[in-house]
């Protein structure tokens, strides 16, 4: 079976077929990241789609020797999320909370009060703190890769994580009392 390095070489040479393979391999993970960052499934779909289109259009800028493909894709997705939040802020519109009811109407996610509280607490974090926690805790990135995605030093990432987790702990303690 073809390894990712060979697929990337073919993408850089302009192979659409190789690009499709990468989309198949990474779309779920990118969608999960964006879905956790935005609160809206439809927006997450749009941003995930745009992530891959941008990667394809500017594939010449990707250097596989310097950064892993998944890190690069997450970085694009993260920048698009930042744009999305900025736009929302300019329009002074809070992002609509849209549970994925069409995909799973009776999931535990919706039924569990505790999970709902955790979700709410995560969403109350700043976008930077949330992205740091999502990348390290849910997407399982190493601190170096997460710092690269957020364009931060490892120390700055650690500080973001610490403040984010502290705030979460306080919120959860208050909400679950």
């Amino acid at each position: 079976m073809e390894d990712e390095r060979q697929i990337i070489e073919r993408i850089l040479a302009g192979s659409e077929l190789a690009f499709r393979q990468i989309v198949d391999q990474h779309s779920q993970r990118i969608f999960n990241y964006v879905r956790r960052m935005t609160r809206n499934s439809a927006e997450a779909e749009d941003i995930s789609q745009e992530t891959f289109i941008r990667f394809w259009v500017s594939r010449d800028r990707f250097d596989p020797g310097r950064v892993k493909l998944t890190t690069w894709l997450h970085r694009i997705a993260h920048n698009l999320c930042v744009d999305y939040f900025r736009q929302r802020q300019l329009q002074e519109r809070p992002a609509p909370v849209q549970p994925d009811r069409q995909d799973s109407p009776d999931t535990e996610y919706e039924l569990s009060i505790r999970a709902g509280v955790v979700h709410k607490a995560l969403m109350s974090l700043s976008e930077r703190q949330r992205s740091a926690i999502v990348l390290c805790h849910y997407q399982n990135f190493s601190q170096h890769d997460a710092a690269h995605i957020l364009d931060l030093s490892v120390d700055a990432l650690e500080s973001l994580l610490r403040r984010g987790r502290r705030k979460l702990k306080q919120k959860l303690a208050k909400e679950l009392e």
């Binding site: 659409e16 690009f19 499709r20 997450a44 999931t107 999970a115 601190q143 994580l161 987790r165 702990k169």
Partner: protein, 148 residues
């Protein structure tokens, strides 16, 4: 490793040692076994990790499928785009692709020549009725002229 650094690590990355910085992991693990304060910190961090684990996303297979379909359809160029791509010369390989816009530019000229030839043929070749009409007209004129 000391308690201060261990606290920073656990407060930042949680209780799961797999998330700790690789270069400090072994030392931090060793420290956690020897310090009661470290164990207490780990318990607190594990409780938060447990809560975070509750935030699971629902099955999003259909959403992801929609994303993939949208990406793949965006890759397909339209017919006009395909035609333009074919017609416009590739500046990196001008010698081999310049004939395409030249051909397209010559098409109206060729069409004009074809139409012109078709019309000329039509006017040169008179139909039988037209020829008879002309002959008849000539006879009448000659007869009238002789009578005068």
């Amino acid at each position: 490793m000391n308690l201060e650094r261990f606290t920073l690590i656990v407060e930042s990355y949680g209780a799961d040692s797999h998330r700790w910085p690789v270069d400090e992991r072994a030392e931090a693990l060793e420290f956690s076994l020897t310090s009661p304060d470290a164990l207490s910190l780990l318990d607190q961090a594990a409780a938060l990790d447990h809560d975070l684990a509750l935030f699971e996303l629902p099955d999003s297979a259909r959403s992801v499928r929609r994303v993939e379909m949208a990406i793949f359809s965006a890759l397909k160029p339209g017919r006009l785009e395909q035609l333009l791509k074919w017609v416009l010369p590739d500046f990196d390989d001008l010698a081999h692709t310049l004939w395409r816009p030249t051909l397209v530019a010559c098409l109206p000229l060729l069409l004009g020549v074809v139409i012109g030839l078709t019309l000329t043929n039509n006017t040169d070749e008179l139909s039988l009725d037209e020829e008879l009409g002309l002959l008849a007209f000539t006879d009448i004129v000659r007869e009238e002229w002789n009578n005068e």
